[in-house]
Symmetry: C2
Subunit: 251 residues, 2 copies
């Protein structure tokens, strides 16, 4: 099975509307530097799971015949915007897994269409989604009730932590015990700025704190991208900047 990052940007995305900084200008010229809303797809032999749904072009590529479900970290618009189109589909019932949130987003609960929002997950309770994959939701700090996910293949583990403003001791402990191969984590801002999301100085120590072999930074804002043009990441190659389209194998 593999996980493909379908977006690695924050809510403004890259390019930011109307911005002509170095990173935004580069992304307008070269599609490979675009950063769409932070999201991923998990391809298993049973079919595809979407991990967040902030991309609004899902109908063009997430074939309902092979879509087995949507896993949500939380109900902010840049993580659910694509559901407002999908819900009116002719697509049977699509389970949406996620945290308990009394309001959801706008009128998604009132008019779910083909989406089934009853699949609420409990913190730390492992859930098998198909023969080769289980997930464990771990609550993380953010401005809204938010889960990170420990994604377990047969032997390997990837942890996805977006959006994130810190990880409490219980969640950190559960993540460490899972012995993650890769941790993909929110790093929206340059050092010591921003709020509700991690800045670079707070994200980098997570490599060791969570016991990861590799740390990928996601949910990248243009200020961080510009900062990294002149302040490269540590050279040992264990901390990497994610890109839209990055694909990780999970055995």
């Amino acid at each position: 099975m593999y996980i493909r990052l379908t977006g690695t940007g924050n809510a403004p995305q890259i390019p930011v509307y109307g911005c002509y900084c170095k990173s935004c200008s580069r992304a307008r010229v070269d599609e490979n530097y675009r950063r769409r809303p932070a999201s991923a797809e998990i391809q298993t032999s049973a079919g595809r799971f979407l991990l967040d749904a902030g991309r609004t072009d899902l109908a063009d590529w997430a074939d309902p015949k092979t879509l087995k479900g949507v896993i949500l970290t939380h109900y902010h618009m840049d993580h659910v915007a694509g559901l407002f189109h999908l819900r009116w589909g002719v697509a049977g019932s699509i389970p949406v897994f996620g945290p308990s949130d009394p309001n959801g987003c706008d009128d998604l609960y009132a008019h779910p269409g083909c989406l089934d929002f009853t699949h609420t997950l409990e913190p730390y309770r492992e859930r098998r989604l198909c023969e080769e994959m289980t997930i464990i939701p771990v609550p993380i700090k953010h401005s809204k009730m938010t889960f990170g996910y420990i994604i377990k293949g047969r032997r390997e583990v990837v942890v996805y932590l977006s959006d994130c403003d810190g990880i409490g001791p219980e969640s950190a402990s559960v993540i460490r015990e899972s012995m993650p191969k890769v941790v993909i984590v929110d790093c929206s801002f340059p050092p010591e700025v921003g709020r509700n999301h991690l800045s670079l100085d707070r994200a980098l120590p997570l490599l060791d704190e969570l016991g990861a072999q590799w740390l990928y930074l996601t949910h990248i804002g243009h200020d961080l991208e510009n900062y990294l043009l002149s302040h490269p990441l540590p050279e040992d190659g264990r901390i990497l900047l994610a890109r839209d389209g990055l694909t990780l194998n999970i055995d």
Copy 2:
């Protein structure tokens, strides 16, 4: 000045996610048959105005340097979805004109970013937006507070009525008095079905009731598109099915 329809579909759009009816299949093969969320742009010598903002690719083509404002009919998601990305732009202050709505949509009012939602319009009160264009908001029936717009050029008038579940006597009278060249009106459904929007049998009489020279149908659902494959519109050419990209000159 001209008005270009940037979307002529209803909330599910065409193709509908997962649907393989004749109209949806055709739209997957031929881009010209796609129907995106009902919306338009108005190009004037002063710059561009967006009429509704349900398209989520606005950042790719609505250059902030020439964008003079956004005119909203109402705050349903398929008419405002594109604002959730634009709001984080580096784009000065973009005025949003529209009806008074205490809630707006999701957290747009709480986090407006570069959008200025204070430009509330009063029913029937004419507003000059640039030297060559004024608009008159006319309340129309829908499931949420909704305006249609009388769009006046120097000599000609186009009326835009989406979304619409009927027009009360006062609004109908004001529209008739404006002597519209073209009325563009919600026609979501085949005859005698649906709710909150007009069906074909209720839309067609508006040509004469509103005194229009031409009536264009918009906000088209796939059931109506399929119906029209075997039930063509009246032959005199005064009632027409709008298409995405249709451009009308307004003198």
